[in-house]
Symmetry: C2
Subunit: 340 residues, 2 copies
DNA sequence: TCCGCCGGGCCTGGGGCCAAG
DNA sequence: TCTTGGCCCCAGGCCCGGCGG
C-alpha cells in the first residue's frame, strides 16, 4: 500500500466548500464562525481524518507546546519520579515533554542536549542537574526559559530545590536525640550536588552538637556500594548510628551489618534518604527522609509557565527559588544505642 | 530587556553576503559549497548565535527526528529502565524522545496520547502497553510507524516482547527442582499483560509436572501488596515455595514471612521477577528472573528505524516480533523444602 | 454605521529543483 | 564540473479588507 499523505487544512477546506482560513478558525475554536459552517468543517475533518500538523503550527506561532527535560540517569529513582511528575503537570497544561539523557557530567554534554532540544523547538527546558558539571557555570544559549531542579540553587536560573540540608539535619538530629554519641555517614558520589549538601549538613549538625565527626564514607547510590561501606562500618565496634545518603545504600549497609552479626536497630541504627516506596518493607522497615518528587515536578513546570507568561511584561523571577521541604518518617530501623 | 528574536538563515545569509540557500547547504553539510564560502557562513552563524529552527525543518522535510513514547506509570521500575534505553538508542540515531504518560488504561487515553504525539509531529511511536486496554484493539490512526513493547504480541503492530512465559516457567521449575511439592504464586494486577502471562506460565508448568495448583493471589506490584499477600501465605503451614511476579512484592512477602517467624529460605523459598538492581542486597539476597530492559529499548528503536526505512519500498515487517529472553539468577532466597 | 462571518494575501524558517555563472 | 542563487512548496496563522444584514 502506498503511504497515505496526511490531509491539510486546504483539503478540508475544499471538501467543506470554505476557505482554509475558516478551517483554521474552527481548528482553533474561534467564535467568529457560523454554527452550520463549523459543522460542515468538522465533518469534513472527520471524513478526511485530518489532524493538525504540529510542525507547521509551531513554525507559524513560534510555540511548540512542548518542554525539554535534560537529566542524567533517567532510571534513577528520584529522577524517574521527578520526570513522571513533570510529564503529568505538563500534560495538564497541554504540553508534552521531550526527554534527553546525558551520559557524562560535562558541560559539553549538557550543551549538546540543550542543542538537541532547541532544535526540537521546545518552549522551555528543565535541567535536572543532579551531577556537578566540569565547569563552574553552564552557559546556556539564551532565548528559552530554563528551570533547574535538584542542582546548584546558586545559579542565575530559577530553581526548584529540595532542602537537602534540612533533611540531612533532621536525620542526624533524630539519631542524636535517640542518645547516640555520634553518627556515621555514607555519602553519595562526590560529583553529586545532593550528596555533597547532605554530607555538609550532617557535618554541621554534628559540629553544632559538639560531637566528634567520624570519617566520611562515599558510595555511588547503589545498594552494592552501600554493602561495601557497610562492611567497613561493621568492622568497627564503636559505630552505633549511620545516616545513609539514600535508601538503597541503607539497604546494602543493613545487609553488611546483618552478615557481621550486628542487629538493626539493636546494635546500630540506620536512617536513609528518599523514602523509596518499598522502604516500609525492608527488614527492618526503614526510617528515612521523605522527598516529595511530585512537588518538584509540578513546581518546575509552574516556574516554566510563569517565565513564559512574564516574558516581555517586565518579567519577574530571574532567580526564583522554590524550596520543597523533606520530612523524617520514622520506622523501625532506628532506636537508642545498645546499653554498655 | 526585550526578547531576542532567534536569527534565521536569512540573517546569516545577509551577514555572510550569500544566499540563504547556501546557508542551508552549509547547515546540512553539503559538499557543494566552496571552502571559503563555508567558512564565511560558519563564522556568520557563530557571530549571530544562529541555531536551526526545528519546526521549520520538520515542516519542510516531513521529519522531526523525534520519537514518541506512550507509557503508564513512568516511574515503575521496568518502564523507567525501558524508557531510558529507548532514549539512549534514539539519541545514538540522532533522535529525541517525546514522553507522554497515561493515567487510565483506556483506549481513549491512548488515543489522546497518540493525538498529542502526532500533533508534535513525531516520526514514530513506541507504546509500552503494560496494561490491558478496555477495548480489544487499539485503533491507531495510520501514517506513523508504531512499535509495541511489553504488550500483547498478538497485535498487528511490530512488537518487542520479553518472553514472560519462559521466565515464569524457569522460576517455577527452579523451585520444583529444588524438591518443593508445589509453588504458590503472587501475581501482578489483573489488567497487566505481563502479570497474566507470568501467571499462566506458572499454572501450566505446575500442571505439566502433575502438581496441584494452589489458589492464585493477586497484588499490584507494590511491596505493600506483597506484604499483604505474604501475610495470608504465612498463615498456612503448607507453603514452602512462592514465586512472586516482581521483586518488590517478593520483598513484602519476605517481610511478612519474617514477621510470622518463618525463615527464608529455611522454611519457605522465594523467587522474584525483574532483578531490580538492589535485589542482591535483600535479606536474604533474592533469587529472581533477570529482564534485559536495555535490550527491549534498543530493539524498539531498531524496529522503528526499520519500518521507516522499509516504507514505500514494499516495506517488510508488518507483524515482526522481537523476543528477549529473561534468565534466572540464583541467589540465597531459595533452597530445598524443610525436612519433615 | 456597525457587526458578524468569511476569504485573500502575506508571513513563519528551511529545503528541493533547476538554471545560470 | 562545481558553486551559487531564484523560485516555489511545506501547513498554518494573522491582518485586513469585503460583503451582507
Amino acid at each position: 500500500m502506498t503511504r497515505r499523505q496526511a490531509p491539510s487544512q486546504r483539503d478540508v477546506a475544499e471538501l467543506a466548500g470554505v476557505s482554509s482560513q475558516t478551517v483554521s478558525r474552527v481548528v482553533n475554536n474561534r467564535t467568529n464562525v457560523d454554527a452550520s459552517t463549523r459543522e460542515r468543517v468538522l465533518s469534513a475533518m472527520h471524513v478526511l481524518g485530518y489532524w493538525t500538523n504540529g510542525a507547521a503550527r509551531a513554525l507559524a506561532t513560534g510555540q511548540s507546546r512542548s518542554f525539554g527535560v535534560i537529566s542524567f540517569d533517567l532510571s534513577a529513582h528520584g529522577n524517574a519520579r521527578t520526570i513522571e511528575a513533570i510529564a503529568a503537570a505538563a500534560a495538564d497544561a497541554d504540553y508534552s515533554v521531550n526527554i534527553v539523557g546525558i551520559s557524562a557530567p560535562t558541560e559539553e554534554a549538557v550543551q549538546r542536549a540543550y542543542t538537541r532540544l532547541t532544535s526540537q523547538a521546545v518552549d522551555g527546558v528543565v535541567l535536572i542537574e543532579a551531577r556537578i558539571l566540569d565547569t563552574a557555570t553552564v552557559h546556556l544559549p539564551t532565548g528559552v526559559p530554563v528551570v533547574i531542579a535538584d542542582g546548584d540553587p546558586g545559579r542565575s536560573f530559577p530553581a526548584v530545590d529540595i532542602n537537602q540540608a534540612a533533611g540531612a539535619r533532621s536525620a542526624t538530629r533524630h539519631l542524636l536525640d535517640l542518645g547516640h554519641q555520634t553518627v556515621w555517614h555514607v555519602a553519595g558520589p562526590r560529583d553529586s550536588h545532593a550528596a555533597l549538601r547532605r554530607a555538609a549538613a550532617w557535618h554541621a549538625t554534628l559540629k553544632d552538637a559538639g560531637r566528634t565527626v567520624p570519617p566520611l564514607l562515599f558510595g555511588d547510590w547503589s545498594a552494592d556500594s552501600g554493602l561495601e561501606a557497610g562492611r567497613s562500618l561493621a568492622a568497627r565496634e564503636d559505630v552505633t548510628a549511620v545516616f545513609a545518603a539514600n535508601d538503597h545504600m541503607a539497604l546494602g549497609i543493613i545487609r553488611a551489618l546483618h552478615e557481621a552479626g550486628r542487629s538493626v536497630p539493636g546494635d546500630v541504627s540506620i536512617v536513609g534518604f528518599d523514602n523509596v516506596r518499598e522502604a516500609s518493607c525492608f527488614l527492618p522497615p526503614l526510617t528515612t527522609i521523605h522527598q516529595d518528587f511530585e512537588a518538584v515536578g509540578r513546581r518546575c513546570v509552574e516556574l516554566l509557565l510563569h517565565q513564559m507568561a512574564g516574558e516581555g511584561s517586565g518579567g519577574p523571577t530571574p532567580g526564583t527559588l522554590a524550596t520543597i521541604m523533606p520530612r523524617l518518617v520514622e520506622r523501625a530501623s532506628t532506636g537508642p544505642p545498645p546499653g554498655p
